[in-house]
Amino acid sequence: MSSQPALTALDPEGLDLGAKPTTAIGRGYAAAWQVFISLRVTVVTLIVITAGCFVGMFFDQTKSYDEHVQQWATTPWKLQVFTFLEMYDVFASWWFGLFVVILLINVTACSLERLPKIWLDVWHPRPELSDEQLRGIRHSWRGRIAEGDRAKAEGLIASLLGARARTSTTGETRFAFAEKQRWGRFGVYVVHLGLVMVMVGGIINGKTKMDGLMMITEGTAGRLVRLRGPGNLPYVVDLGFSLRCDDFRLKTFVTGDVMEYESDLSVYDPAVPVKPAVKKKIEVNDPLEYGGYTFYQASYAPAAGDQLVQLDVGPRGGQRRTHSLSIGDKLTLDDGSTFVPVEVIEEFAGLGAAVRVQETSMGPQGPRTTSYVVFRQYPDFDREVRRGAYDVQFRGFDQQYATGIQVGRVPWVPFIFTGFVVMFVGMAMAFLMSHRRYWARLAPAGEGKLELVIAGAARRHQYAFGEEFERVRAKIVEVFGDGERTADRARALREQRRIAKLGDASKS
C-alpha cells in the first residue's frame, strides 16, 4: 500500500503516512480516530444540532421550567422526555453540549487528518509530468512535432506557463511546471480554524460569561445584578462597585411610540478615589464599559412607588417655576407660603385629571390655609377662576423610571470575533481562489520528432478551469494543430481502477 503512488496529480489520498498500530491501545485509538474523522459523524452531528435548534425555536427558552411543564407536559411520558432532554434550556442541555463538543472534535480531527496530505501535495508538487500522472489529468494537449520546431515549442511553453515556471531537464526530456493560487487549497482549513475558534470561545464564554439585568431607579444606585441560572432560576451577583442612574430620559413620538431612551450613569468604585469614577450617557447601541463589564441600555420600566406631580407655581401674572412634588411633599416659597399636593384625582367630574392643593400663605390676618383643585386639561382655570395671590398650574405627572441595564461580561469576545475574521478570510480563499497547475513536457520521440505534452488541472471551479484550458489549447492548436486525440477521462479512470485491482489481487 505504502509503495502505491498517488492516484491522480491532485489527489494525494493514495499517500499513506503512518504504519499500522500494533498495540491494543494503539488500535483502539486508531479506531476512535477513524470515527472522528468520519464525515458520517459530521453529518449526523449537524442534523442533531439542527434538531436541537428547532426544539429551541419551538419552546420559548426564556420561560421557566414550570411554565413549560404547565403548558406541554400533559402526560407523564411527555414530562419525562421534556425533563430528560432539558427542552426548557436546550442550548445548555447535556446532549446539545455533547454534540457541539463532538462537532468540535470532528472538525479538528478532519482537518488534522487531511491537512498534512494537502500540505505535502501543495508544497512538494511533482514538477516532472509522468505518463502515469497524465492519465489522471482531464485537460491536456499531446502531440508530435518536428525536431526543428523545438525553439518554437519552448517559446510556446514559456509564454503559456509564464516566467515563474520551474524548468528542469532529465536526460533529453525538458519539463516545465507552473502553478497559481496554491493558498486556495488551505481555504477550507482556515474556515475550519475560524469555526473552531468561534466554538471554543463560545464554549468558554458559556461557562464564564455573565448576562444579567439591573433595574436602577432614577436617582438611586445599585450594585447587584440579577441573573438567570440553569432552568431559568434567578440568582444575584455583586459587582463590587455601584452604578448610579443620575437621570433617565424617554423620548416618544406624538403617537406615543418610543423614539429613543437614554440614561446618565455614574460609577462609584470603592477602589477608586475619584467620585464618581466614570460618568457616561448610555443609549441603545452605545454602552458603558467598566471593570470588565459592559452596561447596555436594554429597557426601562416605570418605577414603583412615588408618582411625582408637576406644579407650576408663581405670583399672579408673574414668572412661574415648575416643581416636581410627591403627594404630601411641602413646597415652601421665599415668602414662607407653602403648597402641598394632597390628593390626585384621576377623573374629576368629567374634567380629567386633577390635583387638590393645600396652600398656606400670609394673609392680612396672619397665615391662612386654603384648599383647591387644579386641572391638567385647563391650565388657565386657576388664574382665571380662583384668582388667588399665586397661580398654580397642574402640568402633569412626572413619572419616575427605572432604567433597565443589561450587564454583560463576555471575556472571549475578541477571540470569537477574530474567529469570524479568520472564517471570512478562509471563505475568500476557498471560494475565490482556485489552485491551478500546468505541466509541460518536451521529449524526443524518435524519427526526428519530439513529443510535446501540455496539461492542466484545477482543484476547484472545474468548469471555469475547463474554459481557461480551452483558451490555452487554442493557442497550442494555432501553432501545432490538433495533436493526438487524448484519452478521455473515463477510459483513464477505468485503466487506473484496473491497475489498482491487479495490485490488490497480487497482494492477497
Partner: protein, 470 residues
Amino acid sequence: MTSTLFFNLCGAGYFLGLFVYLANLALKRASLRRAGTLIVGTAFLLQIVGLVIRWHEAGLVELAAAERATGLTLEGAQRFVVYTRHPPWSNLYEMMVYMAWGVVFVFLISEVKFRIRFAGIFALALALVSLGLASLTTDAAIKPLVPALQSWWIMIHVVSSAVGYAAGTLGAVISLLFLVKARERVSLSSVAAGTLVVTMGLFLLLGRGAQLFTSAAYRVKLLRDMGDELVPAGRMVGNNFQPYYVPSPGVGALMIVTLVLAVVAIALLMRSRKDDVPQGLPRYAYFAAFGATTATIGLILVNAFTQLDVKVPDDVAAAMVVPGPWRLAIESAQWDLALFSIAWGGQLFLLLAIIFPDKLRTLMPDAARLDRAAYYSMLVAFALVAVVLVTGALWAHYAWGRYWGWDPKETGALVIWITYALYLHARVTYGWVGVPSAIIGVLGFFIIIAGFLGVNLGYFADGLHSYGSG
C-alpha cells in the same frame, strides 16, 4: 405613496415577463426572448426606483418625527443621519418586497452567468408570490424606526440576508429543475413522489397535524372587515391578543382526502420508481393527488371570498375585542396559502413533466449546467448567510450585550447556514454531486422559510426580533 405605485408597476412587469417567458418556451422566438429580458429588466429597475423612493419617504417620516419629538430643526450631518437611517427593509412588508427584488436580482445574475432562462419562470413566480404577500400584510405604512433598528448594521445585515436567502431559493429552484432534467440519474416517478411528500409535510405542519385528523378541520384566522382593512378577531388573554381561529368549511376533510391520495400515489410511484415516466396506475394516482391538492387550495380560496358572515358560539362572540360580522379572506391564511401554492406549483411542474417529458426536457438547460448553477447559488447563499450571522452577532454584541443568545431568529439563521454547510460538505466529500445534493437543495428552501419567516409568523417562540412581525 409613490413607492407603492412603483412596486405595483413592478409586480405587473414581473407578471407580464412571466407570460412572455412562458410564450418564449413554447414558441422559441428571439424577439420574445429579448422582450422578456427587457420587460423583467425594466420591472427590476422600477423596483429599485421604488425602493429608493421608499427610502426617501421613510427619511421624511423619520425627520418629521424626530423634529416633532425634540422640537429642534435638524441640520447638516445630524439631518443626514436621521434622513438615511430608515432603509426600505425594516418591516415585514418591506422585507417581502425586498425578497422579491433579491430573487429577481439573483436570477438575473445567474441568467447572465449560466444561461438558465428556464429558472426565470420560477423566480418570477416566487417574486410575485412574495410581492403578493407584501400587499396583504397590514404594515405597508411607514412608521418611525424602533430604537433597536437605529443602527448602520441594519444595512449590511438585512441586505445580505435577503440576497443570501434569495440565492438559496434560486438554488432550490435550479435543484428541482436538475431533478426533472437528469433522466439517467433519477426518474420522474421519484421526483413526483417527492413533490407529494413535500405537500404532505406542509399540510400536516400547517394543518397542525394531529388536530387535522381528530377534528377534520383546517383552522384559519377570523377577520372583521373594517372597510379599508381587515382586522383579526380575537380576545385578550392577559395582555396578549389571541386571534380566534375557525375551521374553513370543508377544507379539513378535503385535506385528509388529499393526504390519503398522496400516500397511495407515493407508494405506487415509489414501487415503479424505475420507470422514468409513470404509466398506468401510478400515473393516475399522481393525477388524483394533484387534483385533490388543487381542490383543497381552491376551496380555501373560494371560502375566502364566499364566507362573508361566519357565526361563532355566543360565549366566544361576547369575548371578542372587535364586534362582528366576521368573515374569511385571503388574509385568514395568506402564509399557508403561499406555501401550499408553491408546493402546488412544484406538483404542476411535475404534472407537465409527466405529460410532456421529452418536450419539457429539451427546453431545459443541460443537467451539468443546472448542477453547476445550483452549486454556485448555494455557495453564495452559504457565504452570505455567514455574513448575516456574523454581522448579526456584532450588532447584537453592541446593542444587546451578547453576541449570541439563541434567540429564535438567530437560531433560524444558524439552521439555514448549517443546511448549506451540509450541502457543500455532502457535495465535496461524499461526492454527492447530483441527486442527493439537489434534494438537500430543494429542502433548503423550506428551511429558509422556517428560519426566516417561521419566527416572524409565530410558528416558533417570540424573540427579540419581534419588530419583524405583522
